[in-house]
Structures are given as structure tokens and as C-alpha cells.
């Protein structure tokens, strides 16, 4: 009996070796709460999406995806993301560069502006563009006269999505660039490099991971955006429906399995994004640990 107690005590001591560690009870309760929450609110719905999507079998699933209107929605979503991500990568790089590497008046205003799409409701963002470019809008008459269509057409969807996804790349890059500072760039200059060479060979590689991560997040949001796009798209089946809009439409038409089929594609995209993100973080971590080990070895 005493042996057993001693053993217990020894085990207990081992568990709280570090004075700052909480007791095992608190630790496991917290972990349990977090896990339960993830399970109920994240994992179950996600599994449900796939279950529902495949409720009528693989053939139905495949047919739902390849239905001309759904296929059009998938293509439109890819097109919008294909335009938004490069645009916002360039914008994000420029904004982050300006904020991290220069001192100028109105810098805090610029930072606030970059965050604006996060703080404005997507619906309001969509309405903003309607007010600007809609038929009754500010430029409406001029656009109509020149036979240009922005609202209820692809350009409007692209505009709204660019607006919504603008902060992602910049937000990821600003801290990375601030941490890197300007010394490496200055070193490149003293070695004879011009601005472009410096950017290409020094700046870009040093922010590579942050940039890729920002682009992934930007892409995920560009494909998944609903609110703003819904306002400006006009919901013309086969023309201005993106994947999220198509999901809503099918669902409202009581075609739940087809809606879930498209939804599962979006969910897959999200999982794929997460996987890449995890891979990136893991690779960075490994590079860091390898370096640490080699330092210690010497």
C-alpha cells in the first residue's frame, strides 16, 4: 500500500515537474472541452455535408457536379479566384511593403483602410458597389450609355470579391516584413543590385511563406464569399452564380443532395487549404529545428 502511494506520488511529481504547469485535472478538462466543441460544431457538420452529398449515391453526386449550371458555377468561381488572388497578391505586397519599410504620414490610416473589408459587413460591401455601378447608381447612366455591365455581371462579382479578400495577403505580410527590416535590401544595394533585383532575389524569398499563406487564405475566401457576391451577382443561373450562390439556390429548390454535392466540393477546398497550411507550418518548423540541432551539434 505504501509502495503504491509512493509510486503515485512519484508519478504525480513527475507530472508537475515544472512549477508553472497546471494540475492534470485542469489540463484534461480544458482539452476535453476544446475537443468536444470542435467535434460538435466543426467535425460533425463537415461529415454531415459529405454524408448528405452522397445520400443518393456516387452517380447522382457526379451528375450534380457536372450539371451545366453547376459546372458554370464552378468555372465562374475558379475564374473569380483566378483574378482576385493575383490582384490581391500584388496589392498586398505593395501595401505591406509601404507600411513595413517606409515612414510616412497617414500610415495608420492606410492600416485601418486595409482592415476595412474585415470590419464592413459583406452585404454592405456588395451594396456599396451597387450604389456605385448599378443602373440607378453613381456611374449607372454613363455605364449604360457605353454598354458596360458591371452589376449583375462577372465584373461586379470580381470587384466585390477583390474588395472582400483584400486584407489577407497584406495582413500576413506586414508582420513578416516588419520583422525582416530593411537591412538585407540595403545589403543588396551595396552589392550593386537595382530595385527589381533586390525585390526578386532578397525581399520575395524572405517573405515567401507568409506570402503563400496569405494567398491560400485569400483564395479560400475568394471561392467561398457569399454575402457581397450575392448582392452584386443577380443570381442569373448558369451566368452569374458562383458555387456558394449555386448551393443556396439548389437548397431553396429542395434539391438538398445536389446542394450538398457542391457544398462538399467547397468543403474539400477548405480541407485542401488547411492541409497546405499545415504542411507549410510543418516545413517551417522542421527547417527551424534542423538549424537548431546543427547549431547544438557544433
Amino acid at each position: 500500500m505504501t509502495d503504491f502511494l509512493a509510486k503515485q506520488r512519484a508519478l504525480g511529481l513527475k507530472k508537475s515537474e515544472r512549477g508553472t504547469e497546471e494540475s492534470p485535472f485542469i489540463k484534461w478538462t480544458l482539452i476535453a472541452i476544446a475537443l468536444a466543441f470542435c467535434l460538435v460544431f466543426l467535425l460533425l457538420p463537415l461529415v454531415n455535408v459529405f454524408v448528405q452529398a452522397l445520400a443518393k449515391g456516387w452517380t447522382f453526386y457526379w451528375n450534380s457536379l457536372t450539371h451545366p449550371d453547376s459546372w458554370a458555377a464552378i468555372r465562374l468561381t475558379l475564374l473569380v479566384a483566378g483574378i482576385c488572388v493575383p490582384l490581391n497578391t500584388v496589392f498586398g505586397l505593395a501595401a505591406a511593403w509601404a507600411i513595413a519599410k517606409f515612414r510616412f504620414r497617414g500610415k495608420s490610416v492606410l492600416i485601418t483602410l486595409i482592415d476595412l473589408p474585415f470590419s464592413v459587413s459583406p452585404v454592405v460591401a456588395g451594396l456599396m458597389f451597387v450604389v456605385l455601378f448599378g443602373l440607378q447608381g453613381f456611374f449607372g447612366k454613363w455605364l449604360a450609355a457605353h454598354d458596360l455591365k458591371i452589376i449583375f455581371a462577372v465584373p461586379g462579382i470580381v470587384l466585390a470579391t477583390v474588395f472582400i479578400t483584400f486584407p489577407f495577403v497584406a495582413r500576413e505580410l506586414i508582420p513578416v516584413m516588419q520583422a525582416t527590416g530593411t537591412e538585407q535590401e540595403q545589403a543588396a544595394l551595396t552589392l550593386g543590385a537595382n530595385g527589381w533585383q533586390t525585390f526578386w532575389h532578397v525581399t520575395l524569398p524572405s517573405v515567401k511563406w507568409g506570402l503563400i499563406y496569405g494567398m491560400i487564405l485569400c483564395n479560400a475566401r475568394a471561392m467561398g464569399e457569399f454575402g457581397a457576391v450575392s448582392v452584386v451577382s443577380g443570381h442569373i443561373t448558369g451566368q452569374t452564380d458562383t458555387m456558394p450562390l449555386r448551393v443556396e439556390k439548389l437548397y431553396n429548390e429542395y434539391n438538398a443532395p445536389a446542394a450538398f454535392a457542391i457544398a462538399s466540393l467547397l468543403a474539400l477546398l477548405a480541407l485542401f487549404t488547411l492541409a497546405i497550411k499545415t504542411l507549410l507550418e510543418w516545413r517551417q518548423q522542421r527547417e527551424y529545428q534542423k538549424a537548431q540541432k546543427e547549431l547544438i551539434a557544433r
Partner: protein, 367 residues
Amino acid sequence: MSIELRNVGKRFGEVDAVHNVSFSVKEGELMALLGPSGGGKTTVLRMIAGLEMPTTGDLFIRGQRVNDLSVQQRNIGFVFQNYALFKSMNVHKNVAFGLNIKKWQRAEVKARVAELLKLFGLEGLERRFPHQLSGGQRQRVAIARALAPKPSVLLLDEPFGAVDAKIRQELREWLVTLHTELSVTTIFVTHDQEEALEVANRIVIFSRGVLEQVGTPREVYEHPANEFVARFIGVMNVLEPEVRNGVARIGELEFPAHGEPEGQKLRIGFRPYAVQISGELTQYRYHATLRRTFFLGVMLRVELELPSGLVVRARMSKEEYAHQGLEDGKEVSFQIRQYRVLARERGALAPETEFRYRQPPSIAENI
């Protein structure tokens, strides 16, 4: 003349960072820009590099006025305080960067990088990334990278600031050796006077953006141009005696002051090595208590406290200390062999006055 500054000044907004500085650096010299932090020395270095543009004055490199030349056109090698190695490139690519930018042939680049890595003892580290190198290795890579494109001048900003004390000593010696081998004109910035004295051929001393003195280590140490230099280079005892009856007195100490007006306060300075101490109380004129002994390696620094409370710092060898039978708390006698009357701030210094005693000075001169 490799580098020349004529009346160069730099303002950052309202701040006069560098004020009307003129000096020149000869071909092949190893020059130190020395001063306390905020003295403007790094700004001067960055202006020579072209990383900062002077507000006033002219800058010449090898006779050519370079004020309007960009960093890229000046053909300088710059080593940053934290080395600023390209983190995403390995050692080989870091060193080759300047050569690739200048479009050297591939074979030439390879040969030049190999040559530099061999010279710098970095062979075998070609594939390492900066974060896999030690502090000393990083610094050598940074210098190799700066030297690779054969610059006309090498500029180093606080080259020994970011490494620990032991490596710092090695690096100092290594830099001197390297400079002797390559004889490329080199300017480095430091706030450590010992470092400047040890490494440089000549020293430029700054304080608050103003050039205080230019000279060889020996010149600035033995003939400081003003009180700032005198106090900044090495340790100095500074006292403010008052003139009474032709003698300047403070506590027990007396200094001759012929022709000085009565009641005038003088500033007197003397180096710790100019204080001679004896264990024999009858040997010298002044008496004091040896309050504390500081161990500095071969040399010792001692603090003497006079009965009036005045404290005088002295420096001596371990052998001398033992020979005199000194220890903390012991009563000793001492004399001041050499001293200077320090004029008011930025004024010229009077030549050193030597007390004439019967005994020849027994303490080594060149400490």
C-alpha cells in the same frame, strides 16, 4: 587619397546628426570612426557608402566626387552591424550575390567565391544557411560577401558589436591580419576605444556629430586635442582645484599654477599610469589609503582615497603591486608624475607638465 570628406554635414529634420566634418583616408589605411553612441559616426559611414545623402559638403572616393552617385555606382563593400546576410541563400550564394549582379562569368564567380571562402576559413560551409552559422562565421561571410566584387573601400559598421567577448578578440586580430593581406582601404565604426586603439592605423573621434580629433592611436592617446578626447580615450582622473597663492589646490593635492588669477578653478587631468605608488610612507609626498583593487589581467587598477575623501585612480602591473607589498586597506604614499591642465570644453589642451622628481618613473609608459 582614397576617401575625402569636405565639410560634410547631415540633418535629419531638426537634428544635426553630423556637423561640418572633414577628414581623409589614405589608400590602404585601416581607419576607425570612434565615438559614443549618437555621435554621428555611423551616419558618416553610411554617407560614404551612399546609404545616406549628405545635406552639405562634398564626398570624394579616389578623387571622384560621389555625392550624386547611387550606392550601386560607388563600388563599396559594406558590412552591416547585424551582418544582414541573405537568410534565404546559403553561404555560397551570399558571397556570389554581388558577382552575379555584376554579371561575372560562371567559372569566374566559382573561382572567386572558392578563393574567398578559403581565405576566410569557411571551406565546407558553402551549403549552410546563415541561421546554421555561428556569430563569428556569419561575420566572416558578411565580410567575404562585401569583398567579393573587389570594392575600392570596405566599410564596417560596429563589426565586433554582435559577438561575445572571446570571439571579439579573435575577430579583431583576424581583421588586422586580413587587412594586412588584402590592403584594401577599410573604415570601421566602433564605440569601444580599446578596439579602435588596438585595430586601427588612424582614428577619427566624434562626439555629438562633431569631429573632435584625427590621429594615430598613439597621437590621440598621448596628445588628445581636447578634454573630450582625453577622457574618452582611456581612463583619466579629472580634478578641479582652485588657485590660491599661485598654487592650485584640491584636498591635499597641489599643482603649480604660475600666473593663473587668484580664485580661478582649473581642470587638471592625469592618466592612472601617471600615478606612482609606494608601500613606503616616506617615499612620496602624498598619503592615501588603498581602498580597492580591480583585477584587469596583467594590469591592476587601484583606487586611492586621500584623508580628505578625494579618490584617485591608478594603474600598475601585478609585479609592481606585489613588489610594493600592497593590499586593500594599506596606507601608501604616492605622487603624480604627469598631468595636464585641461582647458574649458572644446578648447585646446596645454602640453603635459612633468613633475621633476629625483627618482625615474618606474611604471611602464605605454599602457
